[in-house]
């Protein structure tokens, strides 16, 4: 599918629960428990994660890995919850609103009200857009 574009027509639809589960039970559960393999297993090797509010782009799973390694090292506790999803098998996409409670090492807890747009190719994330209600937390990794 060389000409894949986010949300394009003609993709094979997956069952509705698949979209909610990959976001909550696999991706964010992996993030909240700092399980890097579980997180990265949600992405294609050439996936893109784009933080839209700061226009920060992480190109490819290696860059996404480096970003998460930094996030996991810089923050003690991470929690995502209060989800509301717009799940769409027809366009193979799911958009999610949620609250983030995150505590920097040695700092005070921060609260964000964020959203992500997840566009799947087959059964994995190919392009993810993130909007944050505060400073970007998904900075370029040190690796």
């Amino acid at each position: 599918m060389a000409d894949w574009t986010p949300g394009m027509a003609g993709q094979e639809p997956l069952p509705y629960p698949f979209y909610v589960d990959i976001v909550t039970k696999r991706y964010f559960d992996g993030v909240d428990n700092k399980n890097l393999s579980k997180v990265l297993n949600c992405f294609h090797p050439d996936a893109v994660l784009h933080e839209a509010t700061s226009d920060t782009v992480h190109n490819g799973r290696d860059a996404i890995r480096a970003m998460f390694e930094k996030l996991f090292a810089d923050f003690d506790d991470i929690w995502h919850g209060n989800f509301v999803h717009t799940a769409d098998p027809v366009s193979n996409a799911v958009c999610s609103q949620f609250t983030v409670l995150i505590t920097p090492n040695g700092g005070d807890q921060l609260r964000y009200e964020n959203c992500n747009r997840f566009y799947l190719k087959d059964r994995l994330f190919q392009h993810v857009f993130v909007y944050m209600s505060g400073d970007n937390l998904l900075k370029e990794g040190d690796a």
Binding site: A52, T53, D88, C95, N114, Y131
Partner: protein
């Protein structure tokens, strides 16, 4: 579900893109406000701004329409949850003020429908909030 679903996929897309943004871009205040319930919420999450009820939403749109000579929303990518009456769209907003200054935003809206109108609207902006 939060609200009983009512509109089909095509009707949700038509409501959000044509009836709502089409009328915003025409600065048709009455038609824009007709998309909202009286007690609707419009929240810009990226700046923690909330407009509660049609009177506050009306005041916000009056100021928004007065702030820009032209307002164009385009390049939509829609995600539709027909079973739950929710639709999300990413889009480009191109706003030109009376001095010719252009503001480009790459935004995302989440709409939750109830009985054929917006009950809750959440806006995530790539730049400073223009819906103040």
């Amino acid at each position: 579900m939060q609200y009983e679903p009512g509109l089909s996929r095509d009707e949700l897309i038509d409501f959000a893109i044509n009836q709502y943004f089409g009328n915003v871009d025409k600065k048709d205040l009455e038609a824009t406000l007709n998309c909202f319930h009286d007690e609707a919420l419009l929240c810009t999450q990226t700046s923690f701004t909330r407009h509660s009820g049609k009177a506050e939403i009306k005041r916000m749109f009056e100021d928004f329409f007065a702030s820009y000579e032209t307002i164009v929303h385009q390049d939509f990518t829609c995600t539709v949850d027909e079973a739950n009456g929710r639709i999300t769209a990413s889009f480009v907003a191109e706003l030109v003020d009376s001095d010719g200054q252009t503001t480009i935003l790459n935004n995302t809206n989440f709409w939750r429908m109830r009985d054929g109108k917006f009950q809750e609207v959440y806006v995530y902006m790539s730049g400073a909030n223009v819906l103040v």
